[in-house]
């Protein structure tokens, strides 16, 4: 197990991500955050707080569950438990900032894009991830990346958020059994 970022380093990462998003979306007009369950939701919440504290802008935040859009349902024998999607604003004409913890194969993001498109027609969708670990299986890239980490497929990235896991940190372990 190897520590990649501790609480202090993560603080800087979050602040840099917030600054980059602000810079690209001048004034944050018509912007909204959408966090992908589970940890993307807490990361989106942190960004929302930063926008408010440091830049004085308050933007809506929604929660997306991508279970019903997964591409492995057709080959899985047991469907995962569904948690609800909670997006109480219209996505039409919005600049959606999609937030997830780790970008890996890109399949989760593909599902999330379809899920958002089923809710309406956003103006843009931008992707913000805390970690990009490579090994994409689909042509998907992030607009904002907290940390790029070179990994092998055997390794596993653990993103922890205080509100859910009790601490803020990122570490890497080598415990994945490859099929």
């Amino acid at each position: 197990m190897k520590l990649i970022a501790d609480e202090n380093q993560l603080k800087w990462i979050y602040e840099r991500l917030a600054a980059e998003i602000i810079e690209r979306n001048k004034g944050m007009e018509n912007c909204a955050l959408v966090g992908i369950r589970t940890r993307g939701v807490y990361i989106a919440e942190k960004l929302k707080d930063l926008f408010k504290e440091k830049y004085g802008v308050d933007i809506p935040k929604g929660i997306l569950d991508i279970t019903l859009y997964r591409d492995d349902l057709s080959i899985s024998t047991h469907y995962p438990e569904l948690k609800s999607t909670e997006i109480d604003f219209s996505v039409d004409d919005k600049n959606i900032i999609l937030v997830d913890d780790v970008l890996y194969t890109g399949r989760t993001v593909r599902a999330a894009l379809d899920a958002i498109m089923d809710l309406g027609r956003p103006k843009t969708i931008q992707l913000c991830v805390l970690v990009d670990r490579g090994h994409r299986e689909l042509p998907i890239q992030a607009d904002y990346v907290g940390k790029r980490i070179q990994t092998s497929k055997k390794e596993r990235i653990h993103v922890k958020v205080k509100e859910y896991d009790g601490k803020d940190e990122i570490y890497i372990s080598e415990n994945v059994k490859l099929k």
């Binding site: 469907y79 948690k83 089923d118 309406g120």
Partner: protein, 309 residues
């Protein structure tokens, strides 16, 4: 939790945890019905057949729309317009439906136990949409979902179920479900429509309906089932309405936050007066709306259970 059932045949078979899990999942599905585009791609390529040997409006439409919102293909079979009229047996019909490579078969049948029988024959998942006077599990689940939504809990609530308890599969499924979840259930019926030994199911008998509804959080009225009586069990409809119906003057006896339910179809002016059915305490149309989310959850869970029984 893992849901490991091939079929949903009865509430009696389910554990409290399974019931709570279905209700929780239904909560997650409800949001889809409030979207502009009410459809998700989850059950693409799956086939859902409704196979009804009795008339139905709500249940069949509700299952069909639930399947369609999950992107499954739906086929509808009604005995009244099918080869059953030419003498085809239930078993042969089931085998033919199986040959269509269906994933879920939703069955309503006048014989109690018909869906249990079908579930043993078919490899596909079977959902009971009402079998004789036995059970109607999805109705009980959507009733429980509606109660939960309105009252925030089921445990400890005072619930009165009133009407033709003897012939009501809705009442049976609800009694099993609500007592499992810890509600105080009472039943009220004309003596000839009250099953013997009903108290063994854990319910109490209401003596004075008008008085006892004062304590009720939920009053569930049942339809008088004229089609299931081989002889008249009461002298006239007017007399039933007078002594066993929910009349408008009873409304003032209800608690402010009490709710009135009815599984439909209603006989207005018989078991429930129009003023009661249309009052602000009535949640009858919300029951119908919630039925879709509950049935979406059931289709998702059964197809996604890995086909284990």
């Amino acid at each position: 939790m893992k849901f490991n059932r091939k079929d949903l045949v009865s509430i009696r078979d389910l554990t409290k945890e399974e019931i709570e899990f279905i209700l929780e999942q239904a909560q997650s599905f409800k949001e889809i019905n409030e979207r502009v585009i009410k459809k998700v791609p989850t059950l693409r390529g799956k086939t859902v057949v409704t196979c009804f040997y009795e008339p139905s409006t709500r249940t069949r439409l509700s299952f069909e729309v639930a399947a369609k919102r999950l992107s499954a293909d739906t086929l509808n079979f009604s005995a009244s317009t099918s080869s059953v009229k030419k003498g085809e047996t239930f078993l042969d019909t089931l085998k033919n439906i199986e040959a269509l490579k269906s994933d879920v078969v939703i069955i309503r049948h006048p014989a109690s136990g018909a869906t249990k029988f079908a579930s043993k024959i078919l490899k596909a998942s079977v959902v009971n949409a009402g079998d004789g006077i036995n059970e109607h599990p999805t109705q009980a689940l959507l009733d429980a979902f509606t109660i939960l939504e309105k009252k925030g809990r089921i445990k400890g609530l005072n619930i009165i179920i009133a009407g033709d308890i003897l012939h009501s599969r809705v009442a049976r499924s609800n009694i099993f479900l609500l007592t499992k979840l810890g509600a105080n259930v009472k039943v009220y019926a004309p003596p000839m429509m009250m099953p013997r030994d009903i108290e063994k199911t854990g319910v109490k008998i209401v003596k004075d309906f008008r008085d006892e509804i004062k304590e009720a959080d939920v009053v569930m009225m049942l339809r008088v089932q004229l089609e299931r009586q081989n002889k008249a069990l009461f002298p006239s409809i007017r007399e039933y309405a007078k002594f066993f119906g929910f009349k408008k003057e009873y409304l003032e006896n209800l608690k402010n936050d009490a709710i009135i339910m009815h599984p439909g179809p209603m006989n207005r002016g018989v078991e429930i007066s129009s003023e009661v059915a249309d009052s602000d305490k009535s949640v009858i149309l919300e029951q119908v709306e919630n039925g879709i989310a509950v049935r979406m959850a059931i289709l998702y869970l059964l197809i996604g259970s890995g086909g284990e029984s």
